[in-house]
Symmetry: C2
Subunit: 188 residues, 2 copies
C-alpha cells in the first residue's frame, strides 16, 4: 500500500483561489461547464445526483485533503451536484491549468496517478467496511487501516464515515471504555 502525502496533491492546486462556502451552499450543479478542479482544504462537500425517480443518490462525501469529482477532469460538464455540508474551504484551479501541469510535469503526473490509485484503494476499503453488520467490526476494520480515533467532538463524522448512526457509535465506544482489557471481538 502506498502512502500518499496530501501535501503533494496540493501542488496541483498551488496558486489556486481559495473559496469559502457556507453550510448548504452549492459549489456547482449538474450540467455546469467544468471550469475548475477543486481541492477540499477544510470541511466537507457532498456530491449527489437526482435519479429519474426523484431520489437523491450520494456519490461522494469529499473530506479535507480530497479532490472533488476527479472524473470531471475528463468531462466537459459536471454529472453531479456539489454542495457544502458545513462551512468549507476549497481551493480551485482552472481545468486547463490543471491539465497543463500534468502534461508538463511528469512528477506531478505521477503524484496525480498515485493519488487516484490510493483513492481507489480507500474507497474500496470503505465499501467493504460498510458491508460489515456490526458497528464494532466496522470500527475495528477502520482502525486497522492505520487510522486512529479522532478527537472528541468529531465522533459524529466518524459515525457517518462508518455508515452508522451516531448513537450506535457512541454505544460501541461506551462499551469499549467499560471493558478496556477485553480485546477479543466475538465475530458472530
Amino acid at each position: 500500500m502506498i502512502t500518499i502525502m496530501p501535501e503533494r496533491i496540493e501542488q496541483l492546486f498551488a496558486g489556486g483561489l481559495t473559496r469559502r462556502l457556507e453550510p448548504a451552499q452549492p459549489l456547482f450543479h449538474v450540467a455546469d461547464v467544468v471550469a475548475f478542479m477543486y481541492f477540499v482544504l477544510q470541511g466537507q462537500i457532498t456530491l449527489s445526483r437526482q435519479t429519474e425517480n426523484g431520489a437523491t443518490v450520494i456519490l461522494q462525501q469529499a473530506q479535507s485533503g480530497q479532490v472533488l469529482a476527479e472524473a470531471s477532469a475528463f468531462s466537459s460538464t459536471y454529472h453531479c451536484n456539489a454542495q457544502a455540508t458545513r462551512a468549507t474551504h476549497v481551493r480551485a484551479v482552472p481545468v486547463n491549468l490543471f491539465h497543463a501541469r500534468l502534461k508538463q510535469d511528469a512528477n506531478l503526473s505521477q503524484v496525480w496517478t498515485s493519488y487516484l490509485a490510493s483513492q481507489v484503494q480507500s474507497a474500496r476499503m470503505l465499501a467493504e467496511i460498510r458491508t460489515l453488520r456490526k458497528v464494532g467490526d466496522r470500527l475495528d476494520a477502520w482502525l486497522e487501516q492505520g487510522r486512529t480515533m479522532p478527537p472528541k467532538g468529531k465522533w459524529q463524522d466518524l459515525a457517518s464515515q462508518l455508515g452508522v448512526t451516531r448513537e450506535a457509535l457512541y454505544r460501541e465506544l461506551a462499551g469499549r471504555r467499560s471493558i478496556p482489557t477485553t480485546l477479543d471481538s466475538h465475530t458472530r
Copy 2:
C-alpha cells in the same frame, strides 16, 4: 460521468500472458515482490489482508474488466493477498513493461488515468450504496447507475455486490415481480 470502455484498458495488457486460476487458488501474497500487473478477464479475485488481531479484511473483489490492486504499480511489494474466488482468467503484464507503456504512450497514460478516475467513482458509489439499509434501496441505486439486471444465474453475484445475502435479494426481486406496476419506493 465518463464512460470507460474496458477494451481500452486492455490495451495496457496486450500481449500479456493469460493465466488460469482454480477456485481458491492464490495469485500472490503479502510481501511478494510486485512483478506483474494483472487484469481480470473473467471470474473474480479477492484481495484481502490479515489484521494484527487475526481478522481478515477484504480490500477488493475484482470483477472481470478490472485491474488488480492498481496501487501495486507504485509499490515494490504487495500489501495484500490475492486469491481467486472461483475459476478465473487473468492477463499478466510485467510491471516494468506496464510503466514503459505508460511513459511512452501518452494516449495509454490517459486511458490509465481515466480508468483510475472511473474506478474511484464507482467504488465511492458502491460505498454509498452499501450504507443504504433496505435491499430495495440498494438495488434501485445500483440500477440507477445505468446498470441493468444480470441474467438469471448471476443474481448471487449481484447480491454480494450490493452487500446483501442472496435470500434478501431473491425476496426483493420476488416482491417486484408480483407488483410490477407499483414503482413508488416507500422511503418512510
